[in-house]
């Protein structure tokens, strides 16, 4: 492969790939996402490859091992294109029958979705309840892409946005488009990406950096990994476009060391993009140079915080620093460094190719586009969900998630993991919107949605999150290190039935101090889950404390666990 030298050469290559493929030929997509992989989908994929291999080169169908399809609960997942037939909980034994039926244009009835109550069947991806209420702009391509093959990404129009940006738009034009689209950061803050880009662009200095934050250390969040592992080029394309807009020639991808599949896909994507001339020197003959390197966290939650992450890239301990000066002005080696998370970058190509007006037409007044949500906890269907901003949470939990597991009632939904908040089930009609949910005390965060059933002990949940953060505090600043320790002590006592009168005031007092005085977001927002609980579930806290002060002893910690 010689490096592509122009946008026309890219389109020629794309046309060649498409003409070599028969769109009517059945393609069996086997999910190899984190959950399916855990259910041994590799054996299913091997069985498909062996069986199809036996049929020889004119088999009349092909097998593709892909990233996460989304419906993790019913893995291993198999989707057969072009019709989009979905098979669930597929075992290696099912493979010969699936192949035989596919060749005869028949459907294996016993493996399709059946509604748990009515038994009503759904064959196609657009009919399955889990999928049909979604809008899968970012993750929808996953079933069509083998993440190890750049040609698959080119076949769905990949790198078209990059060519458009490089040859039809100025860097300022790209920046304006992203600002106009009102793309807000998906990593937690919801800060407008365009404004951040502009700050980095206008910051003094020649060397500027762009960074993909793929740390995703938050418990209950797995959507970035699903997207990045399944479609690495989409994120990379967004990053290159951002670098072009900002004027950066060096990019970094920061991810966790314990995701071997993700690392393999990223490295392959970088190598293939370089080989094709989409990365490196003189990209597509445009004169724009850009290189990317990969760095790893080795097991510290706080290294996902932007300034800590940048220290880690420098090879130093990942400790946050005060941000009187933003990292977009002084980040890695004190150079302007623009950091966005995986999902934010992945949104960029479609904004460029389809335009800001199209993008801004999706979502609500203040929150545009779609949002990936990892749905987990006491819900029937765990998985990766993508819906337009503004979708009521009820739709996510009930229509898509299938409601509460075990026929129980919902008690609360929690967003944003250990730095987020819980709202009671009575507020479940609230829309998925950065500002609306923040007002209710359950900011979207990165998009981990946790469903909690009626048996959940809310004191224990707050204690759990705080214990997590206490273990993850870097210890640099006193309010975080000591404040959380004391808060955790009070909460642990309450869960053990040793609560005392005045505990709620003590907790509120500690919350005020850590919320105001901690150095970084980890400490400042550590009290957020507890604040939301005291706002909506205070009675439960009072009851447990009262039990303690009456000396009757309480129920054991973790009684939510069954």
């Amino acid at each position: 492969m010689t490096r592509l030298q122009s946008a026309a050469a890219l389109e020629q290559l794309r046309a060649g790939i498409l003409s070599s493929r028969d769109p009517a030929k059945p393609c069996i997509a086997v999910c190899a996402g984190a959950a399916c992989h855990g259910l041994d989908s590799a054996r299913v994929a091997n069985a498909f490859q062996t069986e199809v291999g036996k049929l020889g080169p004119d088999a009349g169908l092909e097998v593709r091992v892909t990233g996460c399809h989304g419906y993790c609960e019913k893995g291993p997942n198999v989707v057969i294109d072009p019709e989009g037939i979905c098979y669930f909980e597929v075992k290696p034994e099912d493979v010969p029958e699936i192949i035989a039926c596919t060749l005869k244009k028949e459907v294996v009835e016993r493996l399709v979705y059946a509604h748990p109550d009515t038994g009503e069947k759904a064959i196609y991806i657009g009919e399955v309840p889990f999928y049909k209420h979604q809008m899968r702009l970012l993750i929808g391509d996953n079933t069509r892409i083998d993440p190890m093959r750049i040609d698959d990404y080119l076949a769905v129009g990949g790198y078209g946005a990059l060519a458009k940006a490089l040859f039809q738009m100025t860097p300022d034009g790209v920046l304006e488009e992203v600002k106009k689209a009102n793309l807000r950061g998906r990593g937690g803050g919801g800060f407008p990406a365009g404004l951040k880009w502009e700050t980095a662009k206008n910051a003094p200095g020649k060397d500027k950096y762009v960074i993909v934050n793929a740390h995703e250390g938050e418990p209950g969040a797995f959507m970035d990994r699903a997207l990045f592992t399944g479609n690495p080029h989409k994120v990379l394309e967004g990053l290159i476009i951002g670098a072009y807009a900002i004027g950066s020639h060096r990019g970094f991808i920061y991810t966790r060391h314990d995701a071997p599949q993700l690392i393999q896909h990223i490295e392959q994507a970088l190598a293939q993009a370089e080989e094709y001339g989409l990365l490196g020197e003189n990209i597509l003959g445009s004169g724009f140079d850009f290189r990317v390197e990969v760095h790893f966290d080795v097991g510290i939650f706080v290294s996902g915080e932007s300034s800590a992450l940048m220290r880690s890239i420098e090879g130093l301990p990942p400790e946050p620093r005060p941000k009187y000066i933003r990292t977009s002005v002084a980040g890695i080696w004190d150079k302007p460094s623009n950091l966005n998370n995986v999902e934010t970058w992945a949104n960029v190509p479609q904004i460029i190719s389809r335009g800001a007006d199209w993008y801004a037409g999706i979502g609500t007044e203040g929150s545009k586009g779609t949002k990936l949500v990892s749905l987990s906890g006491n819900v029937v269907n765990s998985g990766v969900v993508e819906v337009p901003m503004g979708t009521p949470l009820r739709k996510i939990v009930y229509d898509i998630g299938g409601g509460i597991a075990g026929g129980k009632a919902a008690k609360a939904v929690h967003f944003g993991g250990p730095m987020g908040g819980s709202i009671p089930a009575s507020l479940i009609d609230a829309p998925l919107d950065f500002d609306e949910l923040a007002k209710l005390g359950a900011p979207i965060g990165a998009g981990g949605l946790l469903v909690m059933d009626e048996d959940t002990d809310m004191v224990d949940v707050a204690r759990y999150f705080l214990e997590f953060l206490t273990n993850e505090s870097c210890g640099k600043c006193v309010p975080c290190r000591e404040g959380m320790r004391q808060t955790l002590k009070v909460l642990t006592n309450i869960t053990k039935g040793k609560g005392r009168e005045g505990d709620i005031a003590r907790l509120e007092d500690l919350n005020d101090v850590t919320g105001a005085a901690c150095l970084c977001a980890l400490g400042r927002t550590a009290s957020d889950p507890l604040k939301s609980m005291l706002r909506y579930f205070k009675v439960e806290y009072e009851t447990q404390i009262a039990r303690g002060s009456e000396g009757k002893g309480g129920k054991a910690a973790g009684s939510a666990a069954t």
Partner: protein, 150 residues
Amino acid sequence: MDIAKIDQIIEKHRGKAGDLIHVLMEIQHENHWLPRDVLHQIAAALDIPFSRVLRIATLYKTFSLTPKGRNEVHVCTGISCHLRGANKLLDAVERATGIKPGETDANRRFSLETGSCLGSCSLGPEIIVNGTHHARMTPAKVEDVLKEYQ
């Protein structure tokens, strides 16, 4: 311990002080722990003080300065697994192995770790042994799963 492999990793990064985390990570993956003399070797090769190597090696949870057991058992204690009963699962694993998280048994058969979310929440609660997921576990199934790992 495969000394040749470790030497090879260190050689690849010789003189590059900024690669410290990469070197430690590669050796940890290869060898499952970081012997002290290897840390000295890294300090010399990367031309950085030993104290800085030790600081990074002790800071990150993944790095181990003591040998691990033949089988690494990981109980996911992420919030979703927690809501689905990870506590009781962990109790059962502790009983079956006789060790607490962070420990290795005297025969070096098992090392036990807890850790938060691995991104496969729909499988929870789960334990992962040597990278293999055992999904939707119950305390009762623990003995059966672990006896496969000697």
